[in-house]
Amino acid sequence: MTSTQLIEPCVAATVVTPSPTADSEALADKYAGQTPFVSIQNVSKTFGDFTAVDNVSLDIYQSELFCLLGGSGCGKSTLLRMLAGFEEPSQGKILIDGVDMTGIPPWDRPVNMMFQSYALFPHMNVADNIAFGLKREGVPRDEVKDRVAKMLELVQLGHLGKRKPDQLSGGQRQRVALARALIKRPKLLLLDEPLGALDRKLREETQFELINIQESLGVTFVVVTHDQEEAMTLASRIGVMDQGIIVQTDEPHDMYEFPSSRFVAEFIGSVNIFEGIVTEDERDSVRINSREAGCTLAVNHGISCAPHQHVHVALRPEKIRISHAHPDQQENCISGVIEEIAYMGSLSSFRVKLASGKEIRVTRPNTDRRMAERFTWEDKVFLFWDEDSSVVLTS
């Protein structure tokens, strides 16, 4: 069962999962019979008048790399801090490995956290920073030394054990923070914007290292991030949060291809949204009349909606094909004028203005060198796409 179905009715109404439930069901099957490792049950957190987290229910399974994704102030960090024990839920409860965490302080939880600022102890060297958690547990000195050495190897900092944090680069500090959080072999590792402070190139490298470490150790990761790209690459599952509620929980692929709401569609990646009215609603296809698009939009999945309901159709820029000649299809085909071209190397991005005044973004991979030169400003072009390229959003 996915968490979207657990959310209270009024939220659930806005989260009408479109037909790709086949995938969601596959996911449910994947974890079928498993008890959730982390179970967040109807958790709310209020600070005075402000509701940071609003009745969230979420199950996270063993060895998942779960990403909480959302803009600033959406409640994702508060949720993470409640898992760590720095905040107590105002309502609801959190179970980790079947144990109710209510009233259990951070130092007694089987959870470790990697902080956004890394929070390395400035007066201790790298090895002491990493050993900190083990020493508090009273692990024998020799074992501490062994495990620290192994951990330093794992994060490829074997030679830097004697350095102080302020003598390290940003990337090295990040690894120390990770090593320090992992050394106690926590059942659950919480990562708050783990790559936020790194530059782009380093971030890309570290992403994959993080995944490798997660897979080799089998620890359950919960990552908080505002960066959708980071979430897409890292996560086995993403939960998108907005204003204290989880709007959608899905695997990265489904989240991108089958967003359940306009918010998710627009939050993750870029998207073109058409407004329209349902004219034909069958079991596995819908036809929508959109004045904005100036054509009939055909979508090959069914939706549960009233006839003549007002809906939105989401269409990703890379799903649209562009040509000078009229393609041999009437539906899902619109024409317009190229307003703007952005050449980005691997792909080109076009902004096409339709007769209705609506602007559509189209991206095309530059598969051959001449590709970009074929289209130029003020060209009249046809845009067309397949029936399975777009998604109908009822909210």
Binding site: W107, V111, A119, F121
Partner: protein
């Protein structure tokens, strides 16, 4: 004809008004400028510290005399023999070492200052912590409250404590009225009153450097420590205390040094048996009129205090160099 391809050197154009300034500029920018900046404080130190220090040092090597000023001069000119004699009297210093009174006064001063410094630290730490953890106008208000006592005369404030601590003072009357004690406690003219006076007076000197050190601490460090299995009390000793060391050292030095030489507080609040070097100094000067002896006490006091402090500072610098 002027060769336009070569840029004109400033020195070659001696007629332009800026020539002299340009010529002087490198000088003012480097040596003279720096000298001028350093000269003022150096001059200040020379006139108001070094010269008086040498005068005191000179007096400490003289002998007492019934004269004005009450000591012999070091140089003696015998006109008949044409003999200029310099007599240095080390007797004062020898006497300081021989007479256990002075050593006792020293040790007692250091003990009282040390204990007071420790208690000042104990009281100041929570205050500094609270200020460092509060925000905005609250922080400003608390800091102002710490500094506020300076607006009243130090002497008045110590006198006020006499009013609190005396036999029929406020503290005793309060304790009697609620029945905790049935006869007044003797608090005034005890070492306890001296400790209290020093802690009270020097508290701001401890709070401010501590506040500066604690204010810089990143709160997530404590969360990280708790996350790694530290109870709050452990994270205090493992994280807060080590990171507050610079503030603790600065505060202790600021309290300890003046407390060792403290004169007013032991005189007003202490008993006749409260032995402190500041009082000894006063007595030597004004009761015994033994200026050379008093000067010797002052010189030794300076050396005994300054040397350890320099040592601490050196140690600190070395530590920073290594890290």
């Amino acid at each position: 004809m002027t060769d336009l391809t070569h840029p004109r050197l400033p020195d070659t154009d001696k007629d332009s008004p800026g020539w002299l300034r340009r010529k002087l500029q490198p000088l003012t920018k480097t040596r003279w400028g720096r000298f001028a900046v350093v000269a003022l404080p150096l001059l200040w130190l020379a006139i108001f510290f070094f010269v008086p220090f040498m005068v005191v040092f000179k007096i400490s090597l003289a002998e007492t005399a019934i004269a004005i000023p009450p000591y012999t001069s070091l140089l003696d000119w015998d006109g008949e023999e044409g003999l200029l004699s310099l007599s240095l009297n080390l007797g004062n210093y020898l006497f300081l070492v021989e007479d256990s009174f002075y050593i006792d006064a020293w040790l007692s001063s250091i003990k009282i200052a040390g204990i007071s410094t420790f208690f000042t630290l104990l009281v100041a730490f929570p205050i500094a912590w609270l200020i460092a953890r509060s925000h905005g106008s609250r922080r400003g208000l608390l800091l102002a409250l710490v500094i506020l006592p300076f607006w009243t005369s130090f002497l008045l404030r110590v006198y006020a404590w006499m009013g609190f601590l005396k036999k029929n003072g406020i503290v005793n009357e309060f304790l009697l009225s609620i029945g905790v004690i049935d006869q007044p406690l003797i608090m005034l003219q005890t070492d306890f009153a001296v400790y209290l006076g020093i802690v009270y007076t020097y508290l701001p000197f401890m709070v401010l450097p501590l506040y500066t050190a604690l204010e810089k601490l990143d709160m997530t460090l404590f969360e990280a420590a708790e996350d790694l299995g530290c109870r709050p009390i452990q994270s205090f000793f493992l994280i807060t205390l080590p990171l507050a060391v610079p503030g603790i050292v600065a505060g202790c030095v600021l309290v300890f040094i003046p407390a060792v030489g403290e004169f007013v507080i032991p005189s007003l609040l202490g008993g006749s048996d409260t032995l402190m070097i500041g009082r000894v100094l006063w007595d030597e000067f004004f009761l015994n009129r033994d200026w050379p002896m008093a000067s010797a006490v002052a010189i030794v006091m300076l050396i005994v205090i300054v040397l350890p402090v320099m040592f601490i500072r050196n140690g600190k610098n070395n530590g920073e160099g290594v890290s």
